[in-house]
């Protein structure tokens, strides 16, 4: 105790996972959870089974945690596992949870149907990421202005903001939306608005 001891550390999220950090697993779930669940649902349809499949895939990831070199390989692994578990479920009411995972299986070797679902999931994730970049306050002001058709004064009161702050946030939200989605694609703007609405 108390002796001088040099300690070597070298840690990324994957290093943390490799040495068995459960919070690293939490971080991975936080990052990928939505798309994994969406992908699982696109295969098994039933939400509660999809959740089961995602849980299983994360457990498999944990069991194989020492084998990952890149975060890309983590994502690919989870997709492949979910696809296999999902197909198992459809074929046999999920009797064979303990299938043998082949580490040689890659995204490229998947059938086109499954792969198209993965591409679709990744595409939605990329659009979702962009929309969620709008800060909370902007989303709020925007929503109240354009959907609840409140006047500035009412918004000030509701959000406990000064009038300039309400103007600022409204202006910024519009500006960000304009920047994100080009004028050509007005409908994509509609997508964003729909999401703004469903946000709260």
């Amino acid at each position: 105790m108390g002796k001088f001891r040099p300690v070597q550390i070298d840690h990324s999220l994957l290093d943390a996972l490799r040495i068995g950090s459960e919070s690293a697993l939490d971080t991975i779930l936080k990052k990928h959870g939505r798309k994994l669940l969406y992908f699982a649902q696109s295969i098994v349809k039933k939400p509660e089974i999809a959740e089961e499949v995602v849980v299983d895939s994360m457990v498999k990831l944990w069991e194989h945690r020492e084998t990952f070199e890149t975060s890309d390989s983590v994502s690919a692994f989870l997709y492949v596992v979910i696809k296999n578990l999902g197909i198992n479920y459809i074929k046999s009411s999920y009797a064979s949870r303990e299938y043998d995972y082949e580490l040689t299986e890659t995204l490229e070797s998947l059938d086109p149907d499954a792969y198209a679902k993965i591409v679709r999931t990744e595409l939605l994730q990329s659009i979702y990421d962009e929309v969620s970049k709008l800060p909370e306050k902007q989303r709020e002001v925007f929503k109240l202005t354009y959907f609840e058709e409140l006047g500035t004064e009412e918004i000030c009161e509701k959000l406990n903001m000064s009038a300039p702050a309400v103007f600022t946030n409204r202006f910024r939200a519009l500006e960000s939306l304009r920047l994100v989605f080009k004028e050509k694609n007005m409908w994509l703007g509609l997508v964003v608005l729909q999401m703004l609405l469903s946000k709260h």
Binding site: Q8, D10, L37, P112, D113, K184
Partner: protein, 398 residues
């Protein structure tokens, strides 16, 4: 995933109608591989279908999103811990030949059970602990009239141009109608604990501000020198400025010293909780004027580091990337003392560090991502037999 990322990129460009001719061909080739891919392209091309897919994606967790996420987490934890405890019990399974040693084994098992229970207690305690997320791009801009503006976290860099403050993506910091900033105004950017932000000055000089730091600077540099004031830590990439054959030096004032440069890159760490102001030269050279009495200005060259205190100064050769890693989102330790390491962690995760006993004397070397959660970082540190725990907004070192 690289190939997948590429296809996603092409599809997005297709949706936004911004594909180049070459990209169009590339997408056509992919689509022609299989009817499923063709079908995917068709569905994402229909705004209504894409809209409903996005709404499904958004609402995938159902009504109670946070509840669903918590449940998923809990179920994963249960399964993982069940798996590891079955392994443990296998260890204690004995064969009949070991009958003779049975009493001894019972003793061992007794100790083992006692230990396992002890471990369980610790685990269930830490399960209640909430993890702390890493810092992000946080800063507050203070205008000359005292008005404060919280800077956007989805940005990360601001620049001042012709009296108007912009983010890196071109959007304005102040809304139209708010007063613009006069050339003679001084503004300041304060980065709290758990934050980092970049500021581009009117001369093009870039400054990265670390957590618990503040930069005060004029909207436009006037006169023969460009002077700014720094508290805390900053990385400077100074543009050299020559006008009409004259060179305009750049001056960074901190506690205990002033740095004067022409054009160079350096890191200066002047936190009040450290005795010395540490300047690390990455490129070029700087002249440093210490504040202590009888001090002369001295020159610092690239690859060297100076430490100035109220009593004197020292210079040594260093690996500079260790001292600038924070701006690239890394902790970089090299024989760093435990206390110094915890200071960095405390600033980035916005936590207090409480020592229950003596400060460990171990030194740490290596790199660690600054995007890990605090729990992950502490788990990594616990491995090297230092016992640290999260309690509320504090880190307790046992």
């Amino acid at each position: 995933m690289k190939k997948t990322d590429r296809v996603v990129y092409l599809l997005r460009r297709h949706i936004e109608a911004t594909l180049t001719e070459e990209e169009q061909l590339e997408l056509d080739d992919w689509v022609n591989i299989s009817p499923e891919y063709r079908h995917l392209l068709d569905t994402v091309s229909d705004p209504k279908l894409l809209l409903s897919a996005l709404v499904d994606f958004e609402e995938v967790y159902g009504e109670n999103e946070s509840g669903a996420i918590k449940r998923t987490k809990r179920r994963i934890k249960e399964r993982i811990n069940k798996a590891s405890s079955t392994k443990k019990t296998r260890l204690y399974r004995m064969r009949w030949q070991q009958y003779a040693a049975v009493i001894f084994l019972i003793l061992i098992a007794g100790v083992a059970v006692w230990e396992v229970n002890g471990v369980r207690k610790v685990e269930s305690q830490s399960a209640v602990v909430t993890d702390i997320e890493p810092g992000g791009r946080k800063a507050v801009l203070t205008l000359a009239d005292g008005r404060k503006v919280t800077l956007r976290e989805d940005q990360g860099s601001i620049l001042l141009e012709n009296g108007s403050m912009h983010y890196a993506d071109g959007s304005t910091v102040l809304a139209d109608g708010e007063v613009s900033i006069a050339d003679t105004d001084f503004v300041s950017v304060s980065v709290p604990k758990g934050g980092v932000y970049q500021v581009v000055l009117s001369d093009g000089t870039e400054v990265w501000l670390n957590s618990s730091s503040q930069l005060r600077y004029p909207a436009r540099f006037a006169g023969s020198t460009r002077a700014v004031e720094l508290k805390g830590e900053g990385y400077f990439a100074v543009r050299s400025l020559n006008k009409g054959g004259r060179r305009y030096p750049f001056v960074v004032k901190t506690r205990q010293q002033e740095i004067e440069v022409l054009g160079t890159q350096f890191n200066v760490s002047a936190y009040t909780d450290q005795r010395e102001v540490v300047t690390t030269l990455v490129e070029g050279s700087v002249s440093i004027m210490p504040e202590y009495t009888s001090a002369n200005a001295f020159l610092l060259k690239s690859g060297y580091q100076s430490a100035v205190s109220i009593n004197g100064r020292s210079i040594r050769q260093v690996n500079t990337s260790q001292y600038t890693a924070w701006k690239d989102d890394l902790f970089y330790f090299k024989n760093t003392s435990f206390a110094d390491m915890m200071k960095q962690i405390s600033r980035w995760y916005d936590v207090d560090v409480i020592y229950k006993g003596k400060v460990p004397k171990d030194t740490f070397s290596g790199k660690m991502s600054r995007s890990l959660s605090l729990m992950t970082v502490l788990e990594l540190l616990n491995l090297s037999s230092v016992n640290v725990q999260i309690k509320g907004k504090s880190v307790v070192v046992n």
